[in-house]
């Protein structure tokens, strides 16, 4: 195998109200199953080391995360190189349980939007209440970004991680940079750093 490449080769936009960046390859495993099924839960927890996420949230262990995608779907995030091993652990944990686990790392892209005005950028593109009290670190949202599907969460108060389909990475990067253009901050939410 050669070194895996991302869709945009790590593109960066830094001249606006937030920094938009394509992140390096990210391991992602889709798990479809009945999330009430104890075998499915145990397998997800076992393979990730993270707790079972509640609806609309993401939980994180040292090096992996579990994101709630729907009542019958989770996403396991881990380093790209660990996917085969974690997928195997997941399959083993699932045993005979009726579930489907598959590596989707290369089907998707991971981008980040960073800075005190990052909320503004996301709120221009997604029909989500992004006010500081309404969307907080630990939450996870599958939604629409401009004209395509996307999901995001906040590892920290000033950082968004955005997941989109690989083929649409350029589009998502481009709409994020349009939304982050200079002079476009909405000025509606307090600056989390206390400045501005």
């Amino acid at each position: 195998m050669s070194e895996p490449v991302t869709a945009l080769g790590g593109a960066v936009f830094e001249t606006g109200i937030a920094t938009v960046r394509e992140e390096p390859v990210q391991g992602m495993i889709t798990l479809r199953g009945d999330l009430e099924d104890s075998a499915v839960r145990a397998a997800a927890i076992g393979a990730s080391g993270a707790e079972m996420p509640d609806r609309g949230t993401i939980t994180t262990s040292e090096d992996a995360s579990l994101a709630w995608m729907s009542p019958d779907e989770l996403m396991l995030l881990c380093p790209h190189g660990e996917v085969p091993e974690r997928l195997a652990r997941l399959q083993e944990g699932l045993g005979d349980a009726h579930a489907l686990a598959v590596n989707v790392s290369d089907a998707r892209a991971l981008l980040s939007v960073v800075g005190p005005k990052a909320r503004d950028v996301l709120a221009k593109l997604c029909p989500v209440d992004l006010s500081p009290g309404a969307f907080t670190p630990g939450m996870f949202r599958r939604t629409r970004m401009a004209q395509v599907g996307a999901a995001f969460w906040m590892p920290t108060e000033e950082t968004f991680r955005v997941v989109c389909f690989r083929s649409q990475t350029q589009y998502v990067f481009d709409v994020l940079t349009v939304a982050a253009q200079k002079g476009s901050d909405v000025g509606i939410w307090p600056d989390p750093t206390g400045g501005g």
Binding site: M1, G33, S105, D129, S131, Q147, Y171, D174, V175
Partner: protein, 1004 residues
């Protein structure tokens, strides 16, 4: 003449002079001016020409309701037509041009229409141009189109950017006047998240001009105090220059924010469209004053009393040195007082009312030495491009002139209409308030949400509360209602005590004088922008247009860009009088968003240029682009149609690629084909229902081609299914089909077969897939090494996992070309490296990438159908001779029952055949075969059509497929296909498989 006063102007900054141009002349204004006030300050009273008669027109109003003062704003690509001078903030270097005149504003040839006004009544166009029919399209329409319309369309793309913004709140208050401020404060005290928006650059609305006191202090102080209190609350968002354009179901509001219209040199987007979800909405949108209908009420200098007051008090601008006030209510007296305060002359106040005793306002006017004539009105305004005098008459009479008074301006007031547009957008009803002579929101018929509860409340003047104390108490009540509706407790709230002068009641006046003859009525304007007069509405009523909606469309009353903000009430009152009915019986026309026009750019938001729509790129996109790809859109994907070499035509490139794939080795980027994983104990049963053929009998390690139909039996998708293990299948779909077939699967699983144990995941983009096609395909892969791909190890229609050249791959032995062919799937992040490796090992083997057109020709040579070419949503597999792919053993599959219907089994359905021209030429794609005689519509009978047609380089002739009546039984017959080029093509019906009929080449 209009001019800037030496002092005054609460909104302007005289230390901040600005230069701007109007029709090329350099003019000066101040910061805080609107374009309208700055033009008046420079004695520019004539601002445009009317739509139909090209009459000289000036300002009538001072705000969003202005019908006349529309200009071209900006220059070049940034030019925008139909911009209202009254809502355009002045900035340094602003450039405006008047519109709708030729050759110049001062001298306009179209004004001849005004002389012909008698011959251009309502419905003139309908009556005049209906016969002879062909004349409309070729003679009348081109001429009318040239003279119609207001502004010019911009000539080039808009250089500005726009964006959307999603916002959520518990309570949204629309309107930053004193009612909006009070309602927002009340709601915010409950802890609710409140958004307060104001369409202008200033808070406080009309309150500072209308006077009165709140808790003993002047009302402008109160505005400042309220603002300070709101700004201190963390749960309140205040936004100026943001107009609520429309209210929709579920508390959805569109807000139009103008960010750089007043500061064009600043960075960032020009406008932002807010997409707001509010728990409860308060419309505190105020009221607009109505004109009076008297002859000559459109001459520049005749304006709403409130507008004349606004310009004087807000901008220190006098419309004229002598202003006659004409009114039917007390409010207009405030204008007289304001003008006198500014040192201007008010020779007379004409009050149409006859009161038993003087109202407080009248008494005050008289005490100030202003002449007041009760029961009087204007017979006619004199003047052309500006007012010179008014002729006074008795309101009760027919217009006999009693006296003529010279003046430069006329301030008119016909009363106030609450701005009920936003209240009405989502179903709020109105009631007619007899006392105040206006429509106001009916609280018992509020717009209701999904739970049946009201989700909009009106406050202040917008609710019909016309006096300061009532304005404030209605706003408090609305704030309490909104907070409670949004689930908050507002606690105990007090309304500050307000005082304002007593007012005598209004007396409705819909025509001045009451018995004006035709001569006067045909010069009394209702709709300024669309040139509709009292006499036009009366004519419509006489001709039977009794419904207000019909009369509106017949006369065009209220149909201009101002949507009748000034004219509607006067118009329907005129219609009511002409019909002999009451105003509530006539009712209003429908209020629709947007409240005032919003730009197309703001609606598009970010979706323009590169991001107009999402373009999907495969992992090999960059390679294609660097190697001459001519792109073909397939769904949202871009696929290479062909790779053109230097000096090569697209057609030649396609021919080269098609030949080479049959002779040597072709590579195709097949990454876009859909790949859907289906897993579970019931997966086989599920696929047996989805596909027409049997999938559950497929062995692991094998592939099978399958067809998918809709419930109605029509073919919707096809592709190869590979069984990965006992429980798992991988379904390939067409490029455009991945998402909707995935959705189709989920829908059946979630709604009908929810108890079947099946999971589905769309893994289309996880893999790059490369088709390695041609006689040298196996040799190339053997050079990569790592897997035994011999006929014995991996036979036709088999698949295997393995490692090729160090890449972890899955190899499918399938062929859509009829050649020896492998499709190799690899993780998308490795796709480019594998492609590069294949290009290297293929070098000695004659490798060439090929595009979608070569793919099409190769499959057509083999008679393989293509979804979207041979199918169009009305074609069933049986039409295409695909009966072999329909299982006879299964009890059911989606579409089976539909395919048994009589129409589906009709032997007269057109069936798939091959077509070969007698001349070797290529048939036009989509051409119809004609039969004998004519159909019921007098058209030639058709007996078939071409579904695919190509030049085949391998066969050296044109080949085609088509659907033909009784086609398979007519082999060898020659059909006629008239082309759109005038030629008739003759083609023979043949077998659709043109190449390698025995299918030996793929199975080697």
């Amino acid at each position: 003449m209009s001019k800037r006063l030496a002092t005054g102007g609460r909104l302007i900054d005289r230390q901040h002079p600005l230069e701007f141009t109007f029709n090329g002349s350099k003019l000066r204004g101040y910061g805080g001016d609107t374009l309208a006030s700055a033009l008046l300050a420079n004695d520019r009273m004539l601002l445009g020409r009317s739509f139909k008669y090209h009459r000289p027109r000036g300002l009538v109003a001072s705000g969003a309701e202005e019908p006349n003062a529309l200009v071209h704003l900006g220059e070049g690509t940034a030019m925008e037509p139909n911009q209202r001078a009254t809502t355009t903030e002045l900035f340094e270097g602003l450039s405006a041009q008047s519109q709708n005149h030729w050759p110049s504003l001062e001298f306009d040839i179209g004004a001849i229409n005004a002389r012909l006004a008698r011959f251009l009544p309502a419905g003139f166009y309908y009556k005049m141009f209906i016969h002879p029919r062909p004349f409309w399209k070729h003679v009348f329409e081109p001429i009318i189109r040239r003279s119609a319309g207001l502004g010019r369309a911009p000539v080039a793309g808009d250089p500005d950017t726009y964006e959307h913004f999603h916002f959520f709140c518990d309570v949204m208050v629309i309107g930053g006047g004193i009612a909006g401020l009070q309602a927002a404060l009340t709601a915010a005290q409950s802890g609710a998240k409140v958004l307060l928006v104001e369409q202008t650059a200033h808070w406080g609305g009309r309150a500072p001009l209308d006077g009165g006191t709140v808790a003993g202090s002047p009302v402008d102080n109160t505005v400042e105090e309220m603002l300070a209190a709101l700004r201190a609350l963390p749960n309140v968002t205040l936004r100026r220059r943001l107009m609520a354009a429309g209210i929709y179901d579920h508390g959805y509001v569109l807000g139009y924010e103008q960010l750089r219209d007043h500061a064009p040199d600043a960075d960032g987007p020009r406008q932002r469209l807010w997409r707001i979800r509010a728990g409860h909405i308060i419309t505190a949108t105020g009221a607009v004053e109505r004109p009076l209908s008297f002859a000559g009420n459109d001459i520049p200098g005749v304006m709403l009393a409130s507008a004349i007051r606004d310009f004087a008090v807000n901008h220190g601008v006098a419309v004229g040195r002598r202003t006659v006030v004409v009114t039917n209510n007390d409010d207009a007296y405030l204008t007289a007082f304001a003008l006198q305060d500014a040192g201007l002359e008010v020779p007379v106040i004409l009050d149409a009312r006859v009161l038993a005793e003087d109202s407080a306002a009248m008494a005050r006017a008289k005490s100030l030495g202003i002449r007041v004539l009760m029961g009087h009105g204007i017979a006619r305004v004199l003047g052309g491009k500006r007012v010179t005098a008014v002729q006074i008459c008795s309101q009760a009479g027919d217009g006999t002139v009693l006296e003529q008074i010279g003046c430069e301006a006329v301030a008119m007031s016909g009363g106030w209409s609450p701005v009920v547009h936003l209240w009405s957008h989502c179903g709020g009803k109105l009631l007619w308030d007899e006392t105040q002579a206006h429509f106001r929101p009916d609280v018992d018929k509020s717009p209701t949400g999904a739970d049946g509860a009201a989700f909009v409340s009106a406050a202040g003047a917008a609710s019909g509360a016309m006096r300061l104390a009532d304005v404030l108490s209605s706003a408090t009540a609305a704030g309490v209602r909104a907070a409670e509706a949004a689930g908050f407790d507002p606690g105990s709230v007090e309304t500050p005590l307000a005082e304002s002068p007593e007012e005598a009641p209004i007396a409705p006046v819909w025509l001045m004088p009451a018995h004006a003859g035709y001569d006067l009525r045909s010069k009394a304007w209702l709709d300024y922008q669309n040139d509709v007069k009292v006499s036009d509405v009366e004519l419509a009523a006489r001709e039977g247009f009794e419904s207000v909606e019909h009369a509106k469309r017949y006369t065009t009353l209220g149909m201009a860009t101002d949507q009748g903000k000034l004219s509607n009430i006067n118009g329907l009152a005129t219609l009511a009088a002409a019909r002999g009915s009451t105003i509530p019986e006539v009712g209003t026309t429908t209020f629709r968003p947007p409240y005032t026009p919003i730009s197309m750019g703001s609606i598009a938001g970010e979706a323009r240029g590169e991001v107009f729509q999402p373009i999907r790129r495969t992992p090999l996109h960059d390679w294609h682009e660097a190697n001459g790809a001519v792109w073909e859109p397939v769904g949202q994907w871009r696929r290479p149609y062909t790779y053109r070499r230097a000096g090569e035509s697209t057609h030649d490139a396609v021919m080269r690629e098609t030949r080479n794939t049959r002779e040597n080795l072709g590579l195709l980027d097949a990454s876009t084909l859909g790949k859907i994983l289906v897993k579970g104990p019931d997966a086989g049963k599920f696929l047996d229902m989805l596909y027409t053929n049997m999938m559950s009998t497929l062995k692991p390690g094998r592939c099978r081609y399958g067809l998918m139909c809709s419930e109605n039996g029509f073919l919707i998708d096809d592709g190869v299914v590979a069984r990965l293990d006992q429980d798992t299948f991988l379904c390939h779909t067409t490029t455009g089909g991945a998402e909707h077939i995935h959705q189709h699967m989920e829908e059946w699983l979630q709604t009908e077969w929810w108890d079947w144990r099946v999971w589905v995941v769309n893994v289309t983009e996880a893999y790059a897939q490369i088709a390695v096609v041609g006689p040298n395909a196996r040799k190339a892969l053997e050079k990569l090494g790592g897997m035994d791909l011999s006929r014995e190890a991996l036979p036709f229609m088999g698949w295997a996992d393995g490692t090729l050249g160090g890449f972890r791959v899955r190899v499918f032995r399938i062929s859509f070309s009829g050649e020896l062919s492998y499709e190799i799937a690899v993780e998308a992040g490795q796709g480019r490296a594998l492609w590069d490796a294949l290009m290297v090992v293929g070098y000695d083997l004659g490798v060439m990438p090929y595009g979608t057109e070569a793919l099409h020709i190769l499959r057509a040579e083999k008679g393989f159908i293509m979804i979207g070419d041979e199918t169009d949503g009305t074609v069933i597999p049986q039409d295409l001779g695909l009966d072999w792919a329909i299982s006879k053993k299964k009890d059911d599959y989606i579409g089976k029952r539909a395919q048994a219907r009589s129409h589906m089994t009709d032997p007269a359905r057109w069936k798939l055949v091959g077509l070969e021209t007698l001349s070797g030429a290529t048939l036009p794609d989509g051409a119809y075969a004609v039969g004998e005689g004519m159909n019921a519509n007098g058209q030639r009978v058709t007996i078939g059509r071409v579904t695919s047609s190509y030049r085949s380089p391998n066969l050296g002739k044109g080949i085609a497929m088509g659907l033909v009546l009784n086609g398979p039984e007519r082999m060898g017959e020659v059909l006629e296909f008239p082309g759109t080029d005038g030629a008739t093509y003759r083609a023979r019906i043949v077998d659709p498989v043109f190449y390698d009929k025995a299918g030996e080449k793929a199975d080697v």
